[in-house]
Amino acid sequence: MSSTQAPERPPQPDASPAGAPTSPARARSERLVPRLLVAVALAYVIVLLLGPLGGIIYYALNSGLAVIGQTFSQPDVQHAFYLSFLIMLITVIVNTVFGVMVALVLARDRFPGKHLASALVDLPLAVSPVIVGLMAVLLFGRGGWFEPFFAARGIQVIFALPSMVLVTIFISIPFVIREVVPVLQELGLEEEQAAWTLGASKTQTFFRVTLPNIRWGLLYGIALSAARAIGEVGAVLIVSGAIEGKTETATLLILRFFDQFQQQQGYIVALTLAAFSIVLLIGIEIFKRKRTREAG
């Protein structure tokens, strides 16, 4: 190993690969730079993400157990959480079933306009949720395209649960599809074909072979879409009218609390949602790791 300096230097353990000419200054910087990068990255994350998380934990718990207890005993609060979970559940089920269908078609079928279809799938990620809410109002609200149809049957869409579910489905469409498609593409078709030659029908093959093979990617996508669904605020704000005790979700509840200067209660509800999301986040991380491990 050659050195450009007169005094012989022993090889630095974590510096450049063997054989690379190094000067002492460069070797030092090669040890420092990674640490500097890590420090900067950590600082950014703390300022942006962890700090605020700590802040809300402090403020919410600071209100004291009495306020916390009182908040959760309010019927409108209870209803808000119930509504949020209900919407999340319906959304996740619909997006899972149809998402897998769409993923199967996108991953395996050949048809013209596939790129348009995949752009459509990505669209809800780029559109502002308030615009989504507006779209629903334009379709189902007064003067909307579908309004006569539903009004004639006495079904209330806007300012009621159906529209809230619809917009939440819209904004969480991409997650399952985007996670399942790559898994399907990596897996290929051979195992399914083997199953067919062994006599399994297409349905049997789907449940016994395809589904187990995509499970981690699928669960990952489901967890992401659940998190997104329960966090939705912009679109449901527009379509629901935020009627207390009727069409007010947990997120809309937070908005109302802060609007009415009841910050303590706002923090408490916000922290509760955050706690639930962190549980989801743990699930997300686990599924993501299992999915990556299998992709090998």
């Binding site: 990255a41 769409v102 669209l123 780029a126 109002v137 489905i169 704000l237 997300i284």
Partner: protein, 296 residues
């Protein structure tokens, strides 16, 4: 030389033409396309029709609302800033997570995904809690003339918060797949760390960084939940386009003085939506060179 014993003619054998099997695929394809078309194409058509169905009158009326034009400008500027800042920090984080071993690395990876799990509104609450005038940190900043909440820096922070994982997750997989041999070759030839990064790593990452930044841009343009509580929504100062749209639809919310309705909201929305769509197409183009989720 043909061996008659091998090539036999089966009596009654005849050539028959088989109809294409495409026919069998349509049920699944149809259901998938119906789902996409119904949920995505239809609402989009509604917005375009309502907003511009009667020409540009709605748009001019909307823009004449107080603070509308500056809201659009502000949103654009902040979104671009967000994309640039997180383009850098997101890449840095991805690099640190993939290439540098340090204690707590997998914890950091989990934290980076936090914005994907936390409801946007809760994120806004968190930021307002930590950096608002009432807290230790916020109070200290205010005393030194740095205003975060109810000012533009707060909006920027909120946008950075929600878009960080987009860039990281776009760049990380590409980094993982990069062959370290190329970098080792550069180092052995004498290139320092920065030169190696600049000439070997960065060009390979550029599409992924661009795609991630574009996604961040689109997201930042439409962000509502994280912004609405932090910004203060002061017209001409901290009012963003998505909040403006929500005010246009529900004139009684957030103490706005706009007196418009769904049509004006639709006009502005269609504008914003058009931007978002263009960004999605641009992202598709960039991604088609290898880092998209749908491969051909």
């Amino acid at each position: 030389m043909a061996d008659a014993a091998i090539q036999t003619r089966r009596p009654g054998g005849r050539a028959r033409l088989r109809p294409g099997t495409a026919a069998r695929r349509w049920p699944l394809r149809g259901a998938a396309l119906l789902y996409l078309g119904l949920f995505i194409l239809l609402p989009v058509a509604a917005i375009i029709q309502r907003g511009y169905g009667s020409g540009l009158g709605n748009l001019t009326s909307a823009l004449s609302s107080i603070g509308a034009w500056s809201a659009i400008k502000l949103t654009l500027i902040l979104a671009v800033l967000t994309a640039i800042i997180n383009g850098c920090f997101g890449t840095l984080l991805a690099y640190v997570l993939v290439r540098i071993k340090f204690p707590g690395r997998s914890l950091l990876s989990t934290v980076v995904d936090l914005p994907f799990a936390i409801p946007t509104l809760v994120a806004g609450v968190m930021l307002a809690a930590l950096y608002g005038p009432g807290s230790v940190v916020g109070g200290w900043l205010e005393r030194h003339g740095v205003h975060i909440v109810d000012a533009q820096p707060g909006i920027l922070l909120a946008l950075l918060f929600v878009t960080l994982p987009l860039v990281v997750r776009s760049v990380q997989p590409v980094l993982l797949e990069l062959d370290p041999a190329e970098e080792e070759a550069a180092r052995v030839l004498g290139a320092g760390q920065w030169t190696t990064f600049r000439k070997v790593v960065f060009p390979a990452l550029r599409p992924a960084i661009t795609a991630g930044s574009l996604q961040a841009l689109a997201r930042a343009l439409g962000e509502f939940g994280a912004v609405v509580l932090v910004a203060g929504n002061i017209p001409n100062k901290t009012l963003t386009a998505p909040v403006l749209i929500s005010q246009l639809i529900n004139p009684t919310s957030y103490g706005s003085t706009a007196t418009s309705g769904p049509d004006e909201a639709a006009a502005v929305s269609a504008l914003l939506f058009g931007l978002a769509f263009v960004i999605v197409l641009a992202t598709e183009k960039v991604s088609s060179r290898g880092s998209g989720w749908l491969k051909a």
